[in-house]
C-alpha cells in the first residue's frame, strides 16, 4: 500500500470528515463553515490534479477498502475517466464554495448549508471513485438526499414543493437502480463492477440483461433528467440557492446520471448498437425539447434549468454515438457544460443578490451597474451558444462532426438547429438583463461582493481557456485518458482484475 493508493479514498474521506466537523462545530464558531468549505474543496482540487498526474504514470489504480481481498471487498478505482470527473467536480465545487461564502450570508444557517454541501460532494466523489456497484448506489443516495435537503433550503412554498417533487422522483429513480442491481447480482453473484463484467462474459444478450438495461436507463435517466424523465429538474434547480443550482446543474446531474450510466453501460453491461440508438434518440429528444421549453421562460433560473436539459442531451448524443470522436466530444462537452452552466447560475445568483428578482421582464440595464457580472455572463452565454473561440463551440463541433461521420445526418441537423436556438435564447437573455438603459428601480444596484466576483471571473477564464484542452499534449493528459476508458469497454474487467 503506497501513497498513491491512499490518494483514492481521500476523495471521500476528506469531505466527509469536513462535513462531520462542520456539523459539530460549525454553528458555534463563526466563520468556520465557510473556511472549512473553502479549504476542503481546494484540497480536493489539488488532490484531483495530483490524480491526473498519477494517472499519466499508472493508468489504473485500485484501492481495497479496509484491506479486504478483492473482488470480495469493496474496490475504489482511479483511472482516466475517474480523474477527469474528479477534476471537473472539484473545480466547480471550489468555485461554488468561494462564491457561497458571500452569497449565503442572507440565509440563516450557513453551517448547515456547508455540511449538506460537503455531504453532497462526498456522494459525488464517491460515485466517481467507486468500483463496486452497491457502493455506487450508496454514494448516489448520499448525494441525492443531501441535494433534496439543499433544494428545500429556503423553506418557502416553492422550495418545499420543488424539493418534495424532486425527492419523490429521485427516490423512485433510485428504486429502479436498486432493482437493476438486484437483478445483476442474481445473475453474477458479485458486486464488483470488473468482476461482474467478467462473469457476464458471453451471455450479455439474455433477456435479463435487457431488463436490467431498461431499469438502469430509467433510473439513471431520471437522475440525468433525460427528456421523458425530466419533470423534476425545472422545478428543483431554480428553487435551490444559486450556488446549489450551479452545483446541481453543473455537476450533479452529470455525475449521478451521465457518468454512472456510461460507466455501467460501457464497462459492465457492455455497449450494444441498440443501446447506442436509444441513447442517441434520448439525447436528441432532450436537446430539442429542453431548448424549446426554455424559450419563453420568464424566470431566469428556470430558463437556465431547461437549457441544462438541452445541453445534457448533447453530452448523451456524443457519448451514445460510441465512436471515439463522439465520445471525446461528449466528454469535452461535459467538462465545458459544467463550467459555463455553473457560471450562468452563479451570474443569475449575482443578479438576484443585487436586485432581488429572477424575472427577466423586470430586469434590464443592469450592465452598467454590474460590469463584472455582465462580462462573465457574456463569456458564459457565448460559450453555451457555441461561438468560437469559446469552449462550447469546440465540443459541439466535435459532436456534430462525429454525428455526421457516423452517418446520422438527421441528428446532426437537429444538433445544429438547437445550437442556433440556444444562441438566440442567450442573446435575448443578455439583452433583457444587462443591456439598455438602467431602469429607475435599479439606480442603487451595486456590483456583488469581491469573492463572488472572483469565483465568477475564475470560471469565465476557464471557459475561455478550455478550448486549449484540445491541443495535442493537453488532450493526451486530460481528455484522452477519459475517452480511452469508454473505448476499452469490457476490457475494463481485465485491466482492473489485473491490478488486484
Amino acid at each position: 500500500m503506497n501513497d498513491t493508493a491512499l490518494l483514492i479514498p481521500s476523495f471521500v474521506v476528506v469531505p466527509l470528515a469536513a462535513a462531520f466537523v462542520n456539523s459539530l462545530l460549525g454553528s458555534r464558531i463563526k466563520g468556520l463553515p465557510a473556511l472549512l468549505g473553502g479549504l476542503t474543496t481546494v484540497t480536493l482540487l489539488v488532490l484531483s490534479l495530483v490524480a491526473i498526474q498519477r494517472v499519466q504514470v499508472v493508468p489504473t489504480m485500485v484501492y481495497a477498502v479496509g484491506g479486504w481481498k478483492l473482488p470480495i471487498g469493496i474496490a475504489m478505482v482511479l483511472d482516466g475517466l475517474t480523474s477527469f470527473m474528479l477534476v471537473t467536480v472539484n473545480m466547480v465545487a471550489f468555485a461554488i464554495a468561494v462564491y457561497a461564502t458571500e452569497y449565503m450570508e442572507r440565509f440563516t444557517s450557513k453551517a448547515m448549508f456547508y455540511t449538506l454541501f460537503l455531504l453532497m460532494l462526498t456522494g459525488m466523489n464517491g460515485v466517481i471513485v467507486s468500483g463496486d456497484l452497491f457502493n455506487l448506489f450508496v454514494f448516489l443516495e448520499i448525494a441525492g438526499v443531501a441535494s433534496y435537503a439543499l433544494v428545500a433550503f429556503g423553506t418557502e412554498r416553492h422550495e418545499l414543493e420543488a424539493a418534495f417533487k424532486y425527492a419523490v422522483m429521485g427516490t423512485v429513480g433510485s428504486l429502479f437502480i436498486l432493482l437493476g442491481i438486484t437483478f445483476l447480482y442474481s445473475v453474477t453473484s458479485t458486486l464488483n463492477m470488473a468482476d461482474m463484467s467478467l462473469v457476464l462474459g458471453d451471455h450479455r444478450n439474455s433477456n435479463l440483461i435487457l431488463m436490467v438495461s431498461v431499469l438502469f436507463l430509467m433510473g439513471f435517466g431520471l437522475k440525468a433528467a433525460l427528456v421523458p424523465f425530466h419533470a423534476w429538474l425545472p422545478d428543483a434547480h431554480p428553487s435551490a440557492p444559486a450556488p446549489i443550482s450551479a452545483m446541481l446543474s453543473g455537476v450533479l446531474i452529470k455525475t449521478l446520471g451521465v457518468y454512472a450510466l456510461c460507466r455501467i453501460f460501457y464497462n459492465v453491461i457492455g455497449f450494444t448498437p441498440a443501446l447506442s440508438s436509444i441513447l442517441m434518440f434520448l439525447g436528441t429528444l432532450s436537446m430539442v425539447v429542453g431548448v424549446l421549453l426554455a424559450i419563453g421562460q420568464r424566470d431566469l433560473k428556470r430558463l437556465l434549468a431547461y437549457s441544462s436539459i438541452s445541453q445534457v442531451g448533447y453530452i448523451v448524443l456524443g457519448v451514445g454515438l460510441g465512436t471515439p470522436l463522439g465520445i471525446l466530444g461528449g466528454v469535452f462537452h461535459l467538462f465545458n457544460h459544467s463550467v459555463f452552466k455553473s457560471l450562468l447560475f452563479l451570474n443569475s445568483g449575482a443578479v438576484e443578490y443585487a436586485t432581488g428578482t429572477r424575472d427577466l421582464q423586470k430586469m434590464g440595464g443592469l450592465g452598467r451597474k454590474m460590469p463584472v457580472t455582465r462580462a462573465t455572463n457574456f463569456v458564459a452565454s457565448m460559450s453555451i451558444a457555441g461561438i468560437p473561440p469559446f469552449s462550447g463551440f469546440w465540443s459541439k463541433l466535435l459532436i456534430i462532426i462525429a454525428t455526421v461521420q457516423a452517418g446520422h445526418l438527421g441528428y446532426a441537423v437537429w444538433a445544429v438547429m438547437v445550437s442556433v436556438l440556444t444562441l438566440a435564447l442567450f442573446v435575448t437573455v443578455l439583452k433583457d438583463t444587462f443591456l439598455g438603459e438602467p431602469r429607475q428601480a435599479w439606480q442603487d444596484v451595486k456590483e456583488v461582493p469581491g469573492l463572488m466576483q472572483a469565483s465568477m471571473v475564475a470560471l469565465a477564464l476557464i471557459c475561455v481557456a478550455s478550448g486549449m484542452l484540445l491541443l495535442p499534449r493537453v488532450k493526451d493528459a486530460f481528455l484522452h485518458p477519459a475517452t480511452a476508458i469508454f473505448v476499452e469497454g469490457s476490457n475494463y474487467a481485465q485491466v482492473i482484475l489485473g491490478k488486484i
Partner: protein
C-alpha cells in the same frame, strides 16, 4: 415463484400509490411500499431452497446457507430508506405548515 410475483405486485402497488394518489402522505406510503418490495425481492434473490441462517459454525456445512450478502446490503438500503423517508415526511410537514393541506392539486404552484 409465487413469492417473486408477490414482490412484483407489492412494487406495483407502491408505484401506483406514487403516481395516482393526491395526498402527500399517501405518496410517501407508496414510496415506502415500493422500496420494501425491492428489498424483499433482494432478500429473495439470496434465498436458497431449504437453506439455513448464514451463521458460520464448525458442525454445519456451508453449502446449505442462504446467501448472506443481500441481507447485509438490504440492511444498508433500509437505513438509506429511513433517511429518505424522514426527509420526505419533514418536507410534507413543512408543506402542510405553508399550505394547510396535504392535497398536491392545491400545492401546485410551479408550472411550465
Amino acid at each position: 415463484m409465487t413469492v417473486y410475483l408477490l414482490a412484483l405486485v407489492l412494487f406495483c402497488v407502491g408505484i401506483y400509490g406514487v403516481l395516482r394518489k393526491r395526498n402527500l402522505i399517501k405518496i410517501i406510503l407508496g414510496i415506502i411500499i415500493a422500496e420494501h418490495a425491492v428489498l424483499l425481492f433482494f432478500i429473495l434473490v439470496g434465498y436458497r431452497l431449504n437453506g439455513r441462517a448464514p451463521i458460520l459454525s464448525p458442525d454445519a456445512p456451508i453449502t446449505q446457507m442462504v446467501d448472506p450478502l443481500p441481507q447485509a446490503l438490504v440492511l444498508t438500503a433500509i437505513v438509506i430508506g429511513l433517511a429518505t423517508t424522514a426527509l420526505l415526511i419533514a418536507l410534507a410537514m413543512r408543506l402542510y405548515g405553508k399550505y394547510g393541506t396535504y392535497d398536491i392539486a392545491k400545492i401546485r404552484e410551479l408550472r411550465g
